[in-house]
Symmetry: C2
Subunit: 457 residues, 2 copies
């Protein structure tokens, strides 16, 4: 019943795929975010569901925490072993197991990243639509209920995972969902594990919905005189029924960052970047209709194109936003916020946030998936400068409180991890305790990613 006993037993069947090397522990002790480094006791590289099951059984018998690790791109410290234990790196469980073109679905292991999946799908005419920006692993994306630029059309991971294989806290292996599109057969366990951040079990296989690659794609960008006009154009577009595949907001500071980083020539004003998927005529009609609506709200010349090159340049810029924004203040560390509000409250949420950032000592360009009401301020902190981290935390706290006041959520897509635990009771009230009751039912010893999402001790 000790850590050394567990590690000895794990090594007996994992061999050198149980690593305690300094570099491995250090790599798996860091996150993309500002959290303190916390190395695990060991890193395991299982190759099969059976190995994961055996690993969890050994850890359960010895009271050792188990923390899943995908691509390490999460932003709230989800994969940090804050109470020690074994990090399970799914780097060797990264096989594309099957693609079923007629059923428009595929089955993958959790370590497959979304870019690799889409590369492998290219010849099939299908693609997996969820696009959080980072080249995250699909197991991680499911575990954090990831979203992104295309959610306004194709939904989030909640909508695109049909079924899972999960190893529970006692080593049992279950399969959730089916290969059928709809089911009314009992509790929706798939939805319970999607977004559970590895606290209820480890995902070892995913069956995903795929979509047909659109026949034609149009994309464009335009500036607006102010945030309220841009958001009003978004609401009007949604209500008109024009099916947007992407609709992204960037504020003036983000536009300036794109100019500096990617050689763009955006006016320093709020912008919308949009994309439409359809038939050739349909995607062109959608872009034109959006242009008419944007005009009504004072847009300064909507430019769009059906050419792949122009579109790729646009979205590369958007995907590089994180780096473009960080580059505006060399040496700064980012604190990325992630609130999502009802779209009717979006303009005021952005404007109040922007005003508070402007009145603070730090910079924080704002951008977001505005069709879903989800936006981020990337607060740029000099870790050496007195008071800056404190100021950023205050701004983030006020954003989160604002999200709740406006009927929204403290995280649209990044998840809770350790970073947002303190807001859970404010967002969920008595329902947070219910989450802890579910956690205790499935993981009574609390070994699955302890210290995240719920307080179950």
């Amino acid at each position: 019943m000790t850590l050394p006993a567990a590690l000895t037993e794990l090594a007996s069947f994992l061999g050198d795929r149980l690593s305690r090397s300094k570099s491995d522990l250090a790599i798996h002790g860091r996150s993309e975010a500002h959290f303190a480094e916390t190395a695990p006791d060991a890193v395991a590289y299982p190759e099969t569901t059976e190995e994961v099951s055996r690993l969890v059984q050994v850890c359960a018998a010895n009271g050792v925490p188990v923390v899943g690790w995908g691509a390490g791109t999460s932003l709230e410290g989800h994969a940090l072993a804050v109470r020690g234990g074994v990090v399970v790196d799914f780097g060797r469980m990264a096989r594309l197991l099957s693609v079923d073109a007629d059923d428009m679905l595929c089955t993958v292991e959790p370590g497959v990243t979304r870019r690799r999946l889409n590369e492998e799908l290219r010849a099939t005419g299908l693609f997996f639509p969820v696009d959080p920006g980072a080249d995250a692993s699909l197991g991680g994306m499911a575990s954090t209920r990831a979203s992104g630029t295309t959610a306004v059309r194709y939904g989030t991971m909640r909508d695109n995972v049909l079924g899972l294989t999960v190893v529970l806290a006692d080593g049992r292996v279950i399969r959730t969902g089916s290969r059928a599109r709809n089911s009314a057969a009992g509790y929706d366990l798939t939805a319970l594990f999607v977004g559970a951040e590895g606290t209820l079990g480890l995902i070892t296989e995913l069956t995903l919905r795929l979509r047909g690659q659109p026949e034609a794609v149009t994309a464009g960008v335009c500036a607006f005189p102010d945030t309220a006009s841009a958001v009003a154009a978004v609401i009007a577009t949604i209500q008109s029924g024009v099916p947007m595949a992407r609709i992204e907001y960037l504020d003036a500071a983000s536009a300036a960052a794109f100019n500096a980083y990617a050689g763009a020539d955006f006016p320093e004003l709020p912008h919308l970047m949009v994309e439409f998927h359809g038939s050739e005529a349909g995607a062109a009609e959608d872009a034109a209709r959006f242009g008419e609506i944007a005009d009504e709200f004072g847009c300064l010349g909507f430019r769009w194109s059906a050419e792949a090159e122009a579109r790729n340049r646009l979205w590369r810029m958007r995907h590089d936003a994180y780096h473009a924004i960080i580059a505006t203040r060399p040496g700064a560390r980012p604190l990325v916020t992630d609130i999502c509000v009802p779209i009717s409250r979006l303009a005021e949420a952005i404007e109040e946030t922007a005003a508070e950032i402007a009145a603070s000592p730090i910079a924080g360009p704002i951008l977001g998936h505005v069709g879903d009401g989800n936006f981020h301020a990337t607060l740029l902190i000099d870790p050496e400068a007195p008071g800056e981290l404190e100021a950023a935390r205050t701004l983030a706290a006020r954003m989160n409180e604002r999200a709740l006041r406006l009927g929204g959520t403290v995280t649209g897509e990044h998840g809770i991890g350790m970073g947002k635990m303190r807001y859970m009771e404010g967002e969920h009230g008595a329902a947070w305790a219910v989450m802890a009751e579910l956690k205790r039912a499935l993981d009574p010893a609390g070994i699955m990613n302890p210290g995240k999402v719920v307080e179950a001790d």
Copy 2:
């Protein structure tokens, strides 16, 4: 700690809204399906969430079962109090609480039916898309994870409930979800209660996603030489990216039933009925593209129209299918099946089912939501004829086994209730026990709709 004590206490605050009248008990002891009548001990008509909470507390203290009741249209005996207790009829909790046009959502009490909701929404330009055929209550639709003809485009209740107010088994009131479109804030409790059939708690408020009424609608129908051609046309249409709002299959026997019941003039062949939503040009283009695809698969002349009258006639016929089919055998009672399979296996699933029905002593026209792989055989039984119920049960059992063999589910939209409990282990394996663990965590005394979905005793 007895039923009489509970009823006395309930009457003390519900007054004559706690009914023990013979007619009330009889009405709430029957279902749409073939299950034996089982009257509850009392029927309660609460008017507020607080009353439901108090009611559940009283029942919990006395070990009395609590069973929710919406419109009584469910098909698997969900709302029957098979272990006695109090049926909670939501007929007096049927208020439309708010409509937020900009956010395209509304909040309703569970007793609101889908038709009334859409009538009240008409002037707003919005509608609620989930359409199971019956004029079910929204609380019931959420509890059974209902689906229907429009799910292929707009999704099921899983996709259209944003948040819930739920009374738990100990009387606690929780709110799940938020008014924001996306959230990554902890376990997806909304998805856990949607489809739980009242076994984990009672839904007392729902926040629902609404959609814009389409600018134009086109609809049409066509016959195919055989089932395989019709299904192949569906798969090709999905893969072509033509966005169908509805795509319904009916077999030759269903077509004949429509002819007799509604004066249609369908050839006695398999048919597809389709609908498209979009701009005027878009909906017409979609219908035309579908027609081209249908032609490739041998369709016998696709007729479509953008006129409301022709369309309403078509869908009234489809909605009356249940009655049209029953009318083909006067005095017969129906046993309705509900399997959903991956669409690549749909043709073989329908053909094998049809062959077995043809070889049996009973009739069973087949129709379904073929874009999702979900179909029903309505098995027509003379309750007096020896062997017929037995034959129908055998056919249904073989359909369910077939669904599982083909990677599907024993229920696409009707739910488990008491009718499908015996298939849960076959469909979910070890995951069914996990459902029972969740049930025990949230309802340790087993008072919420006992005898449904899980075996938790």
